[in-house]
Symmetry: C2
Subunit: 293 residues, 2 copies
Amino acid sequence: MDAVRVGFVGLGIMGKPMAGHLLKAGYPLTVFNRTRSKTDELGSQGARVASTPAEVGANADIVITMVSDSPDVQEVVAGKNGVIEGLAPGGLVIDMSTISPAVERELDRQLRERGCSLVDAPVSGGDVGAKNATLAIMAGGEKADVERATPVFQKLGKTITYCGAVGNGQLTKLCNQILVSINLLAVSEAVLFARANNLDPLTMIQAVQGGAAGSWQLANLGPRVVKRDFAPGFMIDLMQKDLRLVLQAADLTPTCLPAASLVHQLMSAAQAAGQGREGTQGLAKVLEKLSSL
Amino acid sequence: MDAVRVGFVGLGIMGKPMAGHLLKAGYPLTVFNRTRSKTDELGSQGARVASTPAEVGANADIVITMVSDSPDVQEVVAGKNGVIEGLAPGGLVIDMSTISPAVERELDRQLRERGCSLVDAPVSGGDVGAKNATLAIMAGGEKADVERATPVFQKLGKTITYCGAVGNGQLTKLCNQILVSINLLAVSEAVLFARANNLDPLTMIQAVQGGAAGSWQLANLGPRVVKRDFAPGFMIDLMQKDLRLVLQAADLTPTCLPAASLVHQLMSAAQAAGQGREGTQGLAKVLEKLSSL
């Protein structure tokens, strides 16, 4: 049997290095990107460059999508000239974007009408994780489909978790974002409190990081807040998109998430102040503005 | 020169094992506890049992206090028959309780009038840290005083951080509590969201713990929330005392701490529901009550 043919739609800051890993691993690769110039590098390395997502589907057994938001995934998968128009029965779409769980379920339904199916597999680890193939991948879908996707996942990440039905990958990613964003608010408040009381905030971080107060956010973004480094690891605008997904999903059950909601409101203030493209740690500046600092 | 004589006031769940480590290390030890029966074990192991804190002061070069709240420290140090009445000039009080930074500064002032001084050195790590001598110790005071206290600290903890002037140990501990309590709210919301959406919450924790969402609270209290284990590591009533100190200190600068304030309010609801003596992870039940779970 021939090697599994892989397609990749969306060669942004995440998608491009991910697609590169798959090409290097020897998968026959077809790529599409809205801005065509972003396909040049992979094209010169041997990837087939398609003119539409449908053309990607026609040349692949597995198509990965890595785009910005729910409408983008809907368009490239099920819109005009979407992947679904080219994909043969038996094909698998793996959406690795962070989008609405409900949209994933609807796309899976549409794919199943054509004898195809979907795995939702959002990631955490950011552009560094994408470059180093150390992403955490949270996969939802039929178990057999996720098993079929696993060799591909193993070229992209180090932690691969099966989360259950289609949509559960997204729901797990949203739990991740609840934790990340609230932990960051904790860091912002602790550093603010330290500075307002004339503590050395780096000494404070060092004193508490090893114990019950410790977190990835404190260790990694705490020092950036202290040093006024607001360059993006992950942008406020994108976190806001994810928190919107969190709060929309919470409305459906309904679930009371006061701190997630609070972070969303405070990050709205950051956006209003023109900080949308700063790193999430720019949240700290909102609290400073509300305090005597 | 003879060995440094140590006194210990407050043999509760934290103080008793800490005093035990010092006795075992060979320090001549004098102890006091309001409920005298709690001194029996150390007394039988060779500690001198005093009838008042003043008697502890009279028999020690360094007196450690480990009691519940600001008024308790004020009473045992500077109240009637307090340590200050017995301590000779040159004596050092090390308060390892978690109390108001302002009270520490005032006690230091009073001690200095007698030629003595104070180090505030609250700890994190709980009763397990006290038993295993693995506490994190956050020390404020004159540098020479903290250096004098360090050999004693080394018998009690593993991370000893010099935080600056008197009161800065407490302020650092309050930063610790801001982080601990908000991170716990993050865990409560993420587990609630997972359950409301029919995810397996332990799988969710395992999927995200290794990355940017990771925290001590998630790794340690997340599974307890999932398993409905609300036994106290650290009690809600005590966290409320600490958050009260946080918010009082924040009022003075003033500093806006919306999430710390939110946790305090939600834990008030837990106390109203009779959960004050549960572990802090009982916070999760408040959110459940406000949701469809």
